[in-house]
């Protein structure tokens, strides 16, 4: 049909091929071009139509084997875990008195600091629910977030990105996170071996330890022996030891850790740490330095049985306008894992040096501040834990008097969802 049209056009042109009608000829030539263009377009359309028919037939031939939602991104969801922690507690101190305790030289009226300790109440406590998310963002970053929900508050406990592709054994972390200072600072309450924080950590850093917005760089040495060095810079919001004025505060942390295997089943991990920041006393900014030493020995007795001895010593040198406070303490714990289900442990906590202004405690014996703790854990299943803990605490002053506290608690911890791998 189209070809015929073209042919007649050609014929028409040849008939009128005369010098007189040069202009008409030109016009016709143009028309011819347009017609040709139209032709090619029509041809192209025809081919396309054929193709469409072909694909439709082919699709009909394929069986419907996958009914997944077309826009589902389930495979890219972050690993998620949630943790529930609650307890029943018996203590020989009234709640109203307990929330005002002092640790002489370190904590003055715990209630006034705004820190709500875990297992606060004599009786039942729902401590917290925690949601942890972990995801690989792209080939260069991993992202983590841990949300801490207690009955009274919602907090971003940690939220950070971590590099995964820097060479030379270097890794950078940015966000808000727990410092790797010492042995247990970076660990969350639900993975602690005891429900209570070591006295020296609580005294120097508060319940969250060094946990702040900042940046961290860590380097693992290319050696047969494990050697890791790290430096961190923080906003410096930890007011317990640092709390400088809000304009100029800063906090720097550095540490060196190493581990060797003495035998295949006996290993040692040790570390030295330092935290350097400012404190704000009488409108003057002065330095605070905290030194940490930690040592862990682990003897593996089988796949599900081990003996772990872990100790940490911390010292704080706090320069004030008129003097320098020197305070230190340690904890030492022994944990025995009998099998998949049962753990037992004992811990001793003590303040070693308390060289500070204790004039507010005249007439109160502030020596020998220490605590004894024992626990038994039962894991009916790998993801749940019941813990019976007893402590005899001789570090507290309540209503102007030294008060020894006996406390017994039964706590339940549930970790559902994605596996947290086991700790060393």
């Amino acid at each position: 049909m189209q070809k015929k049209l073209l042919l007649s056009l050609f014929a028409f042109t040849s008939l009128l091929a005369d010098s007189e009608v040069e202009m008409l000829k030109q016009q016709l030539l143009q028309q011819q071009k347009i017609t040709q263009k139209l032709l090619t377009r029509i041809e192209a359309l025809e081919v396309k139509q054929k193709k469409v028919v072909h694909t439709v037939q082919q699709q009909a031939a394929i069986k419907n084997v996958n009914t997944s939602a077309s826009f589902s991104q389930n495979a890219y969801l972050p690993d998620m875990a949630f943790i529930l922690n609650m307890s029943a507690l018996d203590r020989n101190v009234k709640n109203s008195n307990y929330t005002t305790y002092d640790i002489p030289g370190f904590i003055n009226n715990i209630g006034a600091t705004g820190e709500l300790p875990f297992n606060k109440n004599d009786g039942f406590n729902f401590n917290y629910a925690e949601v942890a998310l972990r995801s690989t963002v792209d080939p260069y970053f991993d992202a983590f977030a841990i949300f801490h929900l207690s009955p009274a508050a919602f907090a971003i406990e940690e939220a950070f990105v971590k590099t995964r592709a820097i060479p030379y054994g270097i890794q950078i972390k940015v966000g808000t996170f727990k410092s790797d200072f010492g042995r247990i600072n970076s660990k969350h309450q639900h993975v602690w071996q005891f429900d209570t924080q070591p006295i020296i950590y609580k005294s120097l850093f508060g319940p969250d330890g060094i946990s702040d917005a900042g940046i961290q760089a860590q380097w693992v040495a290319p050696t047969d022996t494990y050697i890791m060095a790290g430096v961190e810079a923080f906003a410096g919001t930890n007011s317990r030891s640092f709390g400088a004025d809000t304009q100029n505060r800063h906090l720097y942390v550095g540490y060196l850790k190493s581990s060797v295997d003495i035998r295949d089943d006996l290993s040692v991990l040790g570390g030295v740490s330092i935290a350097h920041g400012d404190n704000y006393d009488n409108n003057v900014t002065n330095p605070t330095n905290i030194y940490g030493l930690d040592l862990t020995l682990r003897n593996q007795l089988g796949s599900y049985s081990s003996l772990v001895w872990q100790s940490e010593f911390l010292q704080r040198d706090k320069k004030l306008s008129t003097r320098t406070d020197k305070q230190s303490g340690l904890y030492s714990e022994l944990i025995y894992q009998y099998n998949n289900n049962w753990y037992a442990g004992v811990r001793y906590d003590t303040i070693l040096k308390n060289d500070t202004d204790l004039s507010a405690y005249s007439g109160v014996d502030t020596s020998n501040l220490d605590r004894y703790t024992a626990k038994i854990d039962y894991h009916p299943f790998p993801m749940s834990r019941l813990r019976l803990q007893y402590s005899y605490d001789r570090t507290k002053v309540i209503e102007g008097e030294r008060k020894d506290i006996n406390e017994i608690s039964l706590s339940l911890n549930i970790a559902a969802g994605a596996h947290g791998a086991h700790n060393y």
Binding site: A165, W219, V220, K257, S259, R298, S303
Partner: protein, 293 residues
């Protein structure tokens, strides 16, 4: 003089540059050694004394991962309980998930026992299927081929050597399997129970029936109720063999044996897990012999 010494040390490093390969378990380590020969330096991370699901995450393992050019892992969730934090702490970009230097062996295996639904109500199940494929000698060549491909990808200059090593190994292993298969024929239809489903690939291949497990649910310690039910079922099915691994308690198996007259066989789950299982051949021979017995 000192400089000369340093130079020779440096040169040596270049001349004898070998690939540092970490494997999570011993069997994969030994196969890697066969294919890589002198060109690879193999380090095994998980001791075969211990439960492969729960290798102790010692910091010394971080140092081993730090310098690896290649990490060969079993995959299928077997390392979930111990490897991820070590890998994150090792700061080694070469072997991170998605990098060229990470080989997940389970990607090359046709996984069996893949659950159609997964819930922790059924215990600590392997959501991606049974990852204990290395106890089956028929998976060895699949693993060897995946390792060969990966080594060639990382070190193309030595392709010929890897290929040659593979060919030699393949021939030897095919001969071994022929022999092995004939030996195993007499065990067809045999019935066993196992502690954890460590030997399913092997049992399926040689037509041996697994009647039940000592653990009531994967990763959960035995309960008396479940143990009694297992004893009943063993009596009904005339099961005379209990497959026990080296790292779980053995009291339950002994109790069941005393009630059923069955025999407890300690089966290695990895190279060197029991005495005499130090080569690939010996390892599978012991598995075969003790299951068949």
């Amino acid at each position: 003089m000192k400089k000369l010494l340093l130079l020779t040390i440096l040169l040596q490093g270049f001349l004898f540059a070998s690939l540092r390969v970490d494997t999570t378990y011993s069997t994969m380590g030994l196969i890697t050694q066969k294919i890589g020969g002198d060109l690879v330096n193999v380090t095994v991370l998980g001791s075969s004394k211990y439960d492969p699901h729960f290798i102790v995450p010692k910091p010394s393992l971080i140092a081993k991962l730090r310098r690896a050019d290649l990490l060969i892992m079993n995959g299928g969730g077997l390392e979930l309980g111990w490897l991820p934090p070590l890998l994150r702490a090792a700061n080694n970009a070469k072997i991170q998930n998605g990098a060229k230097g990470l080989l997940d062996m389970s990607h090359y295996i046709s996984m069996i026992d893949v659950p159609s639904s997964v819930s922790r109500a059924f215990g600590d199940v392997h959501a991606q299927g049974n990852p204990h494929f290395s106890t089956d000698p028929n998976q060895v060549l699949v693993m060897a081929e995946a390792i060969k491909k990966k080594l060639i990808q990382l070190d193309p200059e030595n392709e010929k050597i890897y290929q040659e090593n593979f060919n030699v190994f393949q021939k030897k292993w095919q001969r071994y399997l022929q022999n092995f298969d004939t030996k195993m024929q007499m065990c067809q239809g045999k019935k066993v129970v196992q502690y954890h489903e460590l030997y399913n690939y092997f049992l399926k291949r040689y037509d041996i029936q697994s009647i039940g497990n000592i653990e009531p649910l994967p990763g959960i310690s035995p309960s008396s109720k479940h143990t009694l039910a297992l004893i009943m079922s063993m009596r009904q099915n005339h099961v005379k063999t209990i497959l026990q691994d080296v790292y779980h308690e053995q009291k339950t198996a002994a109790f069941i044996a005393s009630k059923t007259g069955a025999k407890v066989q300690i089966i290695p789950h990895d190279i060197r897990a029991v005495k005499g299982s130090d080569t690939l051949e010996n390892f599978y021979n012991i598995i075969g012999k003790r299951i068949c017995n």
